[in-house]
Amino acid sequence: MKALRTFRFWGLAPAWLLMGLTLIIPIGIVAGVSLGDRGPYGGFDWALNFTSYREILFTMGWTDELEFDPKYLMIIGRTLAYGLATTAICMALSVPVAYVIANAREGWKPVLVYLVTLPFWVSMIVRVYAWLIILGNEGLAEKTWKFFGGGDVDTFLFTPGAMLVGMVYSYIPLMVLPVYAAIEKLDPALLEASHDLYGNRWTTLRRVILPLTWPGLSAGAILVFVPAIGTVLEPMLLGGGKQMMMGTLIQTQFGGGRNWPFGAAVAMVLMALVVIVLILNARRAAGAAKEAAA
């Protein structure tokens, strides 16, 4: 027994070490910084107060009174909105793409899956810069737009649309792969059964395909939504920094803003949002599993 316990301890030690070094300690440091005081020249001083969190909701008025200020709440709201929009667009685009891959000839499937993952081989910054050129003045987007008779445009860049394009482009492979896996598992006889029982395409999609591929869709939604709400590059480069998001807010606080504790506090809020999403999803999945077993 003792030998087994010893083995368990040392056997798991590498995993604990990895978790500790890469997850628990860094988060602990960020949490610690968020409770500290802003240093006079950047950096921070150790302390134990929640002023940085308070700053998210309140500003110190001229008369040293706390006034409610929704400007950071709006950033949080905007971040969630962009995250949801990105997830929704990725989902809508992924289903047909995954469907085509799942119905491709056997030999082509691995090739198509490989093509979907191909962008990951190139650095994210390079890929976002590529969109800068495509969407920029006299870029491919503008030329195509004019070719099809579109009117004069100021610029595609630095608009919410450009940001969304960039975010969807960056994260869509994370949606396509789980959705493809779910559609691939779908028994074609079930679709035939639906058509046979007077279900048209829409009914079949709504009542058979979506419920049965939902595990893949929800996994994809999590994989897209979580990095999307933490994104920095797209709002900075494609949005031109005009639309402040939580990612860019954190970045500026640690950079130019020189308010580490505030940046750390926003980072903790972002992490809390992610954890909430994951908990909700885990609960829903557990509920679904329970229902399926009942």
Binding site: L190, E192, A193, S194, D196, L197, Y198, G199, N200, A292
Partner: protein
């Protein structure tokens, strides 16, 4: 019986690339009929069923449902339901929801739907299981729910694609009777696809034997078994001895042939026009051993024996020919012939058939 035509198939052909699955097939299925498409795998029977359901379309020809052309109708607009080989029950729905699915799509109101679902569950003896899901059922129970789901919308025709092939032997036997009585009770036309000749003989009103993409014969089970139209049918349905013979003369439905046993017989024929080589088909159970008083008598030697419990298959050498003879074991541990033992065989002319080679 003056019954309407449920399904008419006119000169239907289907090719997949260079492979010809069906080649000019025509037949008519009557209302309330239990019609079986029987044939070896690859004979085109499932393709035919899928064309009636609407999952495939014929390369040539036409299919009529209750006298109306259905070529342009997608599957969900055909009043035809299918029992799939794999059952294809929706795993995320309860049994009641599975059965209600077709009714909802047809726009039945809730009250009517619930009554019909209850009626269907009752019909297949699954009422206590309404709230379960397909994963919690045994194979036979899934089969019943698949039937109930397909019958619930009162289709004009029910298509069954080898529905018994996934069940074990005992259950298959029971389900045959159940299917047959369901068909009688509901009065719906059944089109049943199988490669199992026993199932076909047991359940069908009429059987269509398909082979090599073409119809080999259509008839009642006893017509198909007793009067096969050709060698393919005689060979595929049941067991038989093929004996190569010489036709001496053909007169109407009968032919006079010279057998290798040194005797001449007159038997019913199919597909012959005049003298020449032909095949004599003689079923193993139609040959008697010693006890047979009337008919032609042959002398032979037992060369093999297969004991099957209810009956014994003997292989008997007669004048250089190997004949399979089946003998019912009417009494326990009764007389049995040993290999090497000489025996006397007898058969009646009217149980032999002469077929074109």
């Amino acid at each position: 019986m003056a019954r309407g035509k449920a399904v008419e198939v006119y000169n239907v052909s289907k090719s997949f690339g260079s492979y010809q699955a069906l080649d000019g097939v025509s037949f008519t299925i009557r209302e309330n009929e239990f019609f079986t498409l029987l044939g070896p795998s690859g004979c085109g029977k499932t393709t035919l069923l899928r064309m009636i359901a609407g999952f495939e379309s014929p390369s040539e020809g036409a299919i009529l449902l209750n006298g109306a052309e259905i070529e342009t109708l997608p599957p969900h607009k055909r009043r035809v339901n299918t029992v799939f080989q794999s059952y294809a029950l929706f795993p995320h729905m309860t049994l009641a929801q599975n059965i209600a699915f077709g009714l909802e799509n047809l726009g039945w109101d809730r009250k009517r739907r619930e009554a019909r679902v209850a009626e269907m569950l009752e019909l297949v003896h699954m009422a206590p299981f309404a709230a379960r899901r397909p994963a919690q059922l045994s194979g036979g129970q899934r089969q019943r729910i698949a039937l109930a789901r397909a019958l619930a919308p009162e289709p004009q025709v029910l298509l069954l694609d080898e529905p018994l092939s996934a069940l074990d032997l005992k259950l298959r036997q029971a389900m045959r009777d159940e299917l047959r009585s369901l068909q009688k009770k509901t009065g719906i036309t059944f089109i049943f696809v199988t490669h199992d000749q026993e199932e076909a003989l047991d359940m069908s009103d009429r059987i269509c034997v398909l082979g090599k993409g073409q119809i080999q014969q259509i008839g009642t089970p006893s017509e198909i078994y007793e009067d096969p139209a050709n060698r393919f049918v005689a060979d595929f349905i049941g067991e038989t001895n093929f004996i190569e013979t010489e036709v001496l003369s053909v007169e109407g439905g009968e032919a006079r042939v010279r057998t290798p046993f040194g005797i001449e017989i007159t038997a019913r024929q199919k597909g012959l026009t005049g003298p020449g080589p032909a095949t004599l088909s003689l079923r193993p159970e139609k040959i008697g051993m010693e006890t047979q008083a009337d008919g032609h008598v042959l002398q032979g030697t037992v060369s093999g024996r297969n004991y099957m419990g209810g009956y014994t298959h003997y292989t008997v050498d007669v004048a250089g020919q190997s004949l399979r003879v089946s003998r019912r074991n009417a009494r326990s541990h009764a007389d049995s012939y040993e290999p090497g033992q000489p025996v006397t065989l007898g058969f009646r002319e009217d149980s032999a058939r002469v077929l074109a080679r």
